[in-house]
Point group: C2
Chain length 221, copies 2
Amino acid sequence: MPLAPAVQQGRQKDSRTAILDAAERAFADLGFGGASIRAIARDADVNQAMIHYYYQNKDQLFSAVVARRSGEINTRRNLALDALFDGDIPTLEVLVEALLRPTIELGHDNERGGDAYARLIVSFNNSADDRSRRAATEHYDPIARRSIGAIMRVMPELEKAAAVRGYLFAISVALSVMAKTGRASRLSDGLCDDTDTEETVASVVAFACAGIRALANNKQK
Amino acid sequence: MPLAPAVQQGRQKDSRTAILDAAERAFADLGFGGASIRAIARDADVNQAMIHYYYQNKDQLFSAVVARRSGEINTRRNLALDALFDGDIPTLEVLVEALLRPTIELGHDNERGGDAYARLIVSFNNSADDRSRRAATEHYDPIARRSIGAIMRVMPELEKAAAVRGYLFAISVALSVMAKTGRASRLSDGLCDDTDTEETVASVVAFACAGIRALANNKQK
DNA sequence: CCCGGTTTTAATCAAACGTTTAATTAACAA
DNA sequence: TTGTTAATTAAACGTTTGATTAAAACCGGG
């Protein structure tokens, strides 16, 4: 006589998200090629055939992992952009913080598996293989285009090429603090506090805004 | 009757570097777990046992790939630091350019397999697994510490934590332009030119220096 | 010419891989 | 209860993996 589960159709959803959670950790820690379906199934406490049952194959599992997190990040960023531009044009600081905060906060939210996804997004964001390029194009290019347009509205003197560079530079800085490798603490003998979200956001925003403004002045030299 | 090779001991060194070249491409394109010894041997036109003969196992092969490129980068950076501080204190722009130029130039030097190594260094620089952490610690922490010290000499008002952050931010921006994923060109409809090394160096240096100065002003707000 | 050490080769090992299959179990409607 | 569908399982498929071995080919110095 097995223990009767209290919930009604309690089996499905638990397995699906348990697989996503385990896959997120595996892909982040070992890379796509280094992560194994078998180990993911073991970690998720699920039969390995379940992974193919729900996600068909390893590639689609990877895509599902990215889709889950990118969805909530981009929802927050789109809502923030909607709100920022319904009245006056905001300052660059307000805009950049709105763009980077959802990303940085997810990276610091360990309850939501954020630090694993952080390393994952850094990985495919800087890779050139088909799978990585597809993940970036599909899940992050639309919001990137909208963000670049927003930067140009806030700083009309910025040429488009400079705005693109500024956005990508800012994102790469934000991503580097999402993936907590322990290097900052090591190099600073413990002085740098990765865990303080507000201090991190403030530092990155200050750095990125000053950098973007410098790109505007850089052309006429 | 085989074609007689003109060179004297022509077999050894060709195999060793052919293996390193092929491994560099494989690790960069597929990650450590995705790259296979067999494919590397095939690409290098070498028997697969040769890889174990020269490099024992996959881990030491990876380490050898990193050691080769990091060696020449760090040699250039150390020489530049020696020269910069033998007289007056240089400006932040001169210092930052000296630190970032060797990295960016290697990434743009396709003859030296640079763009493959660029993606590789970005990958392990933002990963937390043992192998990646060891590569960063062993091959890049010493020059990082010296560079952070140099930044603090040029900007004495910068606290150490801010200097560490500034250095890491600057490096992450430089690395992001090394790994040419084609995203900048895609998002700018071809306006951003990844191939112009001088323009890239100028943009990154301007962005990074303004960002570092902003970190100095950020504390008293 | 043959010798000694290095380099290269083909063959093979056990283990792990992604995926598929067919059978079993659980849940709910009729 | 029975019929139907979805969820889960154990077992196996063929392939590929990193690594090892023992023998062959190559080479310059005696």
